[in-house]
């Protein structure tokens, strides 16, 4: 009887284990099916690289939205990567114990804050900062609802991701390596630069890629501060309209305009495919780094 129970449980768990894989396939397949009508009606490159977005006239150029996403993500990475890396190095190599014990839960908490909360903060603090302080500083005008505001908010959101992965990478570097460098008279920073950062280079890239894919799909926080104007952005002070915001903003009317839902599902599919390839890339880099370490 106990053995039968065990057998049944085993089969049952095995079946459940197949489900996650099935879900991924189903998501890709489902979105593809739904975006098929528009893919059949229009040329693929036309959809991706046309700037004409007029759903009522049946024009669905996703280019402004793709550019909006790229701009925001890029700005966020430029801000987040150096700051997160320096923080991770500090926490793993320099910081006294109490700072480490203080910082860990705070970073966890930052990771757990809902994106709407980031968005509200963005509207209250970042948008006025960009509009009233940073833009005049550069001698331009900006309403504040801009690529830069979106990038800053996103950067804060992806700090925890990059810091976490980098900390793991640094922790996996053996201590004797550092000691060897220090005993040769290198300063601590020189040890970090020539030993820790070099040894962990691949892991750091993977951390960046993971942060990138997080930033790429973030919806609500960005949507709230980025302005949502469907044109290709000209500078960081101009508004943009990223892909996720496009999907989120238009779910209401998408059923009433022909091909609209299909276009939005295509947008979701593009997001999914990009993020999937980032995941695979990050994984590949990490696995290779691990193999080399062994």
């Amino acid at each position: 009887m106990r053995l039968i129970k065990d057998y049944v449980a085993r089969k049952f768990m095995f079946l459940l284990t197949l489900v996650p894989t099935f879900i991924v396939v189903l998501i890709v397949f489902g979105l593809f099916q739904k975006s098929k009508p528009i893919l059949l009606a229009k040329s693929f490159t036309g959809l991706l690289f046309s700037s004409a977005w007029q759903p009522l006239k049946g024009q669905f150029g996703l280019f402004p939205f793709i550019m909006g996403t790229l701009w925001v993500t890029f700005v966020a990475l430029i801000i987040a990567v150096p700051i997160s890396l320096l923080t991770a190095v500090y926490l793993s190599e320099y910081a006294p114990r109490w700072v480490r014990d203080l910082a860990k839960p705070i970073i966890d908490l930052l990771a757990g804050l809902p994106s709407v909360v980031f968005g509200v903060w963005g509207i209250l603090a970042v948008v006025p900062l960009v509009g009233d302080v940073i833009a005049p500083l550069f001698g331009t005008y900006s309403s504040g609802y801009s690529i830069l505001a979106g990038g800053i908010v996103l950067a804060v959101m992806i700090f925890p991701t990059i810091i976490h992965v980098s900390l793991e990478v640094f922790a996996s570097i053996p201590y004797p390596l550092r000691e060897a460098s220090l005993s040769l008279g290198a300063t601590k920073w020189e040890t970090v630069r020539y030993v820790v950062l070099r040894k962990g280079a691949q892991g750091i890239i993977a951390a960046g890629v993971l942060g990138l894919s997080r930033a790429f799909g973030e919806t609500m926080a960005v949507l709230m501060v980025v302005g949502n104007v469907p044109v290709v952005p000209k500078s960081v002070f101009s508004p943009g309209y990223p892909l996720p915001a496009l999907i989120a903003n238009n779910y209401g009317e998408m059923m009433s305009v022909p091909q609209y839902d299909s276009a939005l599902m295509l947008a979701a599919l593009v997001l999914l495919v990009v993020v999937l390839s980032f995941s695979v890339l990050a994984r590949w880099i990490l696995v290779r780094a691990e193999r080399r370490a062994e």
Partner: protein
Amino acid sequence: MTRGPEASRLRRRKWTERVFTWLMAGSTFLVIGSLLVIIGTIVWKSLPVLKLSMITQTPKGGYYLGKEGGILNAIVGSLYLAIGATILAFLFSLPVVLYLNLYARKNSRISSLTRFVFDVLWGIPSIVYGAFGFLIMVFFGLRASLLAGIITVALLELPIMSRAIDEVMRMIPGELAEASYSLGATRLETALKVIVRQCLPGILTAVLISFGRGIGDAASVLFTAGFTDRIPTSLFQPAATLPLAIFFQLGSPVAEVQRRAYASAAVLTLIILLISVVSRVLIKRITKHVIK
């Protein structure tokens, strides 16, 4: 002491060291500070409007024009949704992770594939889950409802929870399971009575982390859970959620309603903080059953 170029080089190296130490400490300060600034800003802006009636009343007529009422509908809706989704995701995650760690051979193809798939699922943006949930809804002819929202959010939570549980379970030494087998226990008995108990603190953290994610996510429920001023009484009714309540109130042109959005954001932040504190306290108390 050496003089000349040697000494100046040493000075430069020491100077670089100092600059970078400051840069690093500054970055850390910035990261830690950003959390405090975010919470501070939201609390500061919401203090003048935060009234008890906000969290004890549902919206009355004209609430979105600045009249009386509260966001109880959204708070309860979010709790229902997140609790449902967390239970669903847990019923899924635990067996799968147990299978990966006890039944499947180490580094077998299925376990590495499944772990990889969890990583992939973890990376999928919540708006894509929202779109997918919407597709499922349309496919089964469901309307936006609590149930559809629960299913979508469960999908979103699944990888978060599974990865977190898996991380703890992998840490358990193999001897523990072997000791149990050698006493004649089957794998199922070992799993439920030894391994799960040993991982309990970790499992609990995983559940609470996913719960926090579920309650705070807006993009996935945007299409699926709908929005209503009433508290849902069945799975097939639409449910308001706190993140969406914040979002919609912010979109209002009435200043009073916008300020309520800040207050709602403060409520949501408070819930998240509470979850984090509770999980820390619980872990300390539960750890006493764990064999070290």
